[in-house]
Amino acid sequence: MMQILRPVLILVGKDILLEWRSRDLVVSVLVFSLLIVVVFNFALNVTPQRVTVLAPGIIWVTFAFAATLAMNRSFVREMEQGGLAGLLLSPVSRDAIFLGKALGSFLFMLLVEAALLPVFGALLNFSVLSFTLVLTIAMATLGFALVGTLFSAIAVQTRSREIMLPVLFFPVILPVIIAAVEASSASIGSEPGVGLNRWLPLLAIFDALFLVICPWVFAVVVEE
């Protein structure tokens, strides 16, 4: 266990330090996400009657776009001076490398989402202090991080990396987005029980599947 956990933590620590030094990713993702929220707020008339229908869609479109931006940048940084190649040359298992990168993205996305959630609550006029909503966000973000890390590793090796990631990412992550939207809708609409019983188990199944499949595919992808 420590053989996996130790390099995972070393990788996460390095990613946090790099982001702390530059702060370019967190600032750009936050500004981009806020712009999406503002655009949606003006484009759609979110009245208290329609908040249950519209808010979950706005939240998850914003989070999904923010995730693609964050994931893409995460691996571009690794490629700049050959950091990924250096990482692959170290005696660390590919699973640990994948999990380290995915955990870093997961924590980063949670940070961005935590900053955005009060903005959603204020602009769309709903309570964000819901256990179901927070759990939904955490579970869906884990799915985003796992799938996004895998496809970033693929996309970053192509010439059209900015386009490639969303093209690969969205079809696979769609079931997670649907489940997250439904669970969030139930939570915002004061029916958290429906979300918990129906959609959260589905999110858990997707996360478990991705947790098994993605590291395995990653190991194949990063081999030459």
Binding site: R6, Q81, G82, G83, S90, P91
Partner: protein, 242 residues
């Protein structure tokens, strides 16, 4: 300090590698013992970097057998990775970390005890101790290269693989590198480096090799073999006019 190592450092038999329909290496054999220093010449595109990438587990050979420090490249790549130090065209370092932070990060990945101390020692050996606190992006290309070499030697690998390590280094740094590599081989470890620079390559004591037409042609250590004929083949192969 001399290192006791058994068997061959590198043993390649019938190694083959193609890119699509384009064969780069074929039927390549090589045996390199401990304490040997192989300087590898070759024109652009003959597969020098590809060979080093295969030896360092970055690329996979299509066919053939490769043992690095007694470990099969295919079956046990992780054991190979902990036994080789690699200097490539890219530094494998992060611009926003200091030289010391970069090395400590890699030291931790390699599971070194006291990585800060090992990183300090490696940087001192490359004359970078006074710049260890500077971010990589603020160092010159040559200094970044020296940090990259420090990264490669920090975990004291028994085998060093260097792809044109002299590029970007000034004369003083090249002398430093030469001393380091010769000490590395003299301590019983093995070194393989590629270079385009015939003058430099011929001036370094060690086994000389020419990679041409997918195969490796070796000339023995200094003083053995037909050095004039080998020199001619190298210069012809590299297209040099000297």
């Amino acid at each position: 300090m001399p290192v006791n190592l058994v068997g061959d450092a590198i043993k390649l038999e019938g190694l083959e590698k193609s890119f699509g329909d384009w064969p780069v290496l074929w039927d390549l054999d090589l045996t390199l013992g401990w304490g040997q220093f192989l300087v590898l010449f070759g024109a652009n595109g003959v597969g020098k970097s590809t060979l080093l990438r295969i030896l360092s587990t970055q690329a996979r050979a299509d066919a053939g057998k490769a043992l690095i420090a007694g470990h099969d490249l295919r079956r046990n790549p992780q054991a190979v990775r902990s036994r080789v130090g690699v200097v490539a065209h890219q530094t494998f370092l992060y611009d926003d970390l200091t030289a010391l932070e970069n090395l400590v990060y890699y030291g931790r990945l390699f599971g070194l005890n006291d990585p800060e101390k090992k990183a300090d020692e490696a940087l001192s050996r490359l004359g970078m101790d006074r710049r260890s606190g500077q971010r990589l992006r603020n160092l010159s290309h040559g200094m970044q290269k020296r940090v990259a070499i420090a990264r490669a030697i920090m975990h004291q690998p028994p085998i060093l693989l260097l792809d044109e390590p002299e590029s970007g280094l000034d004369r003083g740094s090249v002398e430093l590198l030469k001393k380091l590599l010769q000490e590395w081989a003299a301590s019983g470890r093995a070194v393989v480096m590629t270079t385009h620079d015939t003058e430099l390559g011929f001036s370094w004591t060690g086994q000389l090799g020419l990679l041409a037409e997918g195969k490796l042609h070796l000339r023995g250590p200094e003083g053995t073999g037909d050095s004039t004929e080998f020199h001619r083949r190298v210069t012809v192969s590299l297209g040099a006019s000297r």
